[in-house]
């Protein structure tokens, strides 16, 4: 489908300001994402992460008009030249509020909505709905009304409805904001499954770095419209990130403090398991 080594997302010096806004929401952003990457994007409110998400599927500049300069291509297609609906075959978007993404009276019909919009034949739609419900683990919720479901179940249904379009990339904008801790963890596990088992590229905007970091090989920190840090979590969760103000995992914060005390920390842990190992090692020596 695509030549093997081109990045699946290529952004070059992208700048954007919303119509009527005095300042730019995106300032000369450059980013490359390879197929199969799991990217966690974070940063303080207003840093431009949501705007960047919107650029990936064409909501910017089609739905949210404004001045867009620079280049952005997704799956080899220039976003500026495509409509959101044509990009929806390649980029799925899961929003923050589970309630306002689902509008049918049954989960099944909501999941079928996307494929129906693609003009697929009935049997193909049915196949995709069955598959999406099974991947997200909500087959038994098929006939339930979305507004009756819990937040976590609703987000799974939202993911299923996006999956049914079989995109290559899935963008999630703070999907756990409204969920309780356990549901948040479960949703991120589903997203990780999409990445590990289906090879989907994941672009996840999150504040809950304690839950999301374990799945990703790359964290991008944005501030005031620009990308300021980009790399493996161990490298990114440092002094600069602390000054910008992101919600680093508490484990990482603890080891940063220990490091400042002069205690030798070999590899800054970003998950509890790594923290346990490192702490045991420190206490032994």
């Amino acid at each position: 489908m695509r030549s093997g080594h081109l990045p699946i997302i290529e952004i070059r010096k992208l700048s954007f300001s919303y119509a009527g806004a005095s300042r730019k929401s995106l300032n000369d952003v450059s980013l490359q994402v390879d197929e199969g990457d799991f990217l966690v994007v974070t940063g303080p409110s207003g840093c431009g992460k949501t705007t960047l998400c919107r650029c990936l599927n064409g909501l910017v500049p089609n739905f949210y008009t404004g001045e867009l300069t620079g280049e952005i291509s997704v799956c080899g297609r220039s976003v500026r030249k495509e409509t959101t609906s044509s990009l929806s075959r390649h980029v799925g978007f899961v929003f923050q509020n589970p309630e306002n993404q689902l509008f049918s009276l049954t989960v099944e019909r909501d999941v079928a909505f996307g494929p129906e919009n693609l003009g697929l034949i009935r049997e193909e739609t049915r196949r995709r709905v069955d598959w999406a419900l099974s991947v997200t683990g909500i087959e038994e919720l098929r006939d339930r009304a979305p507004y009756e479901l819990s937040g976590g179940q609703q987000q799974r249904a939202a993911i299923a409805s996006v999956l049914a379009m079989r995109p290559d990339i899935i963008v999630l904008d703070e999907p756990t904001s409204f969920l309780d801790p356990r549901s948040s963890k479960e949703i991120l596990q589903v997203v990780a499954k999409l990445n590990k088992e289906l090879g989907m590229t994941v672009f996840l905007v999150e504040h809950r770095l304690d839950l999301a970091t374990r799945y990703s090989n790359r964290v991008v920190v944005m501030d005031r419209g620009s990308i300021v840090l980009d790399g493996p979590p161990e490298d990114v969760y440092g002094e600069q990130a602390h000054l910008i103000g992101i919600g680093m995992p508490k484990v990482t914060v603890l080891f940063r403090l220990l490091k400042q005390d002069g205690i030798e920390v070999l590899k800054t842990p970003v998950t509890v398991e790594a923290g346990v190992e490192e702490l045991r090692r420190i206490l032994r020596s």
């Binding site: 929806s88 099944e108 919009n117 003009g119 009935r122």
Partner: protein
């Protein structure tokens, strides 16, 4: 407000719920037409009473009662208007019963037909998808908006708003802090929904093949046949037959009588 409960769809599995929406629509329209053709009190009472077993089968008696209670005010108004402008007692009661029969039939229709199915029926009738979708989404958002409205009322009451105090003007003004957040909330929801829809490919002119298909069963065709037959029968009876009726006389000072020409 409770009258709206009599029009809210609830998902149950009764033969009435399972009927094809198009068949239900034809039946409801037939009842509508028959009620308008006839003014005979016995016929209208029959139409109203005949709906009760249907409501019972649809397991919606409680909600139907709510819609009847809600319509009580308007029904009384109809009775009074008719009676005081010179109609007989029989006629006035008949008009009230007609109103209730109509209210009932529409209530049953909306209680037993899901907005999704209604939208599908419209789509299969070749109405442009965007319109069908607008309709079903609007219906679908009503309960959500009701919850929002309650939350707004709670939030404002917690800031000292007292809805039941003050003169009429004050009470009307007190609804501004309710309406504005509600409207803003509705707009925000719509924008979020629109974003989600666009992101799932909505808005192209590609021909859709809905996964769910409405299939008319034999019972649906039977219902349509019965409804149309009854309609024709009712029309014929009205034209050619003499129907028994109940005459009721009441002496009442008639203020308008003097003004009416003989």
């Amino acid at each position: 407000m409770r009258v709206f409960e009599g029009f809210k769809f609830s998902r149950l599995s009764t033969p009435i719920h399972r009927m094809d929406p198009r068949a239900k629509f034809v039946v409801t329209m037939a009842i509508f037409a028959i009620s308008l053709i006839h003014t005979n009190i016995l016929v209208l009472s029959l139409i109203l009473v005949a709906q009760v077993p249907v409501i019972w089968v649809a397991k919606s008696v409680g909600r139907w009662r709510a819609s009847m209670k809600g319509g009580f005010l308007l029904a009384t108004l109809i009775f009074v208007m008719n009676f005081l402008t010179g109609s007989t007692l029989t006629y006035s009661i008949a008009m009230t019963i007609r109103f209730l029969a109509l209210l009932s039939s529409f209530s049953i229709f909306f209680m037993t037909t899901s907005p999704d199915d209604l939208g599908l029926a419209l789509e299969q009738a070749h109405i442009p998808y965007a319109l069908c979708f607008t309709f079903t989404t609007a219906v679908r958002l009503v309960p959500t908006m009701a919850v929002d409205a309650q939350t707004v009322v709670d939030a404002q009451r917690s800031r000292g708003l007292e809805l039941d105090k003050g003169n009429l003007l004050r009470r009307i003004r007190n609804y501004i802090p309710i309406l504005i957040p509600l409207i803003v909330s509705a707009i925000r929801r719509s924008v979020e929904l629109a974003e989600a829809l666009e992101s799932r490919g909505f808005g192209t002119n590609i021909k859709r093949q809905p996964m769910a298909v409405l299939q008319m069963k034999k019972s649906d065709y039977l219902a349509i046949f019965a409804a149309v037959t009854l309609l024709i029968l009712a029309a014929l009876i009205n034209l050619y037959a003499q129907l028994p009726t109940i005459e009721m006389h009441v002496e009442l000072p008639r203020l308008w009588c003097d003004l009416q020409p003989y």
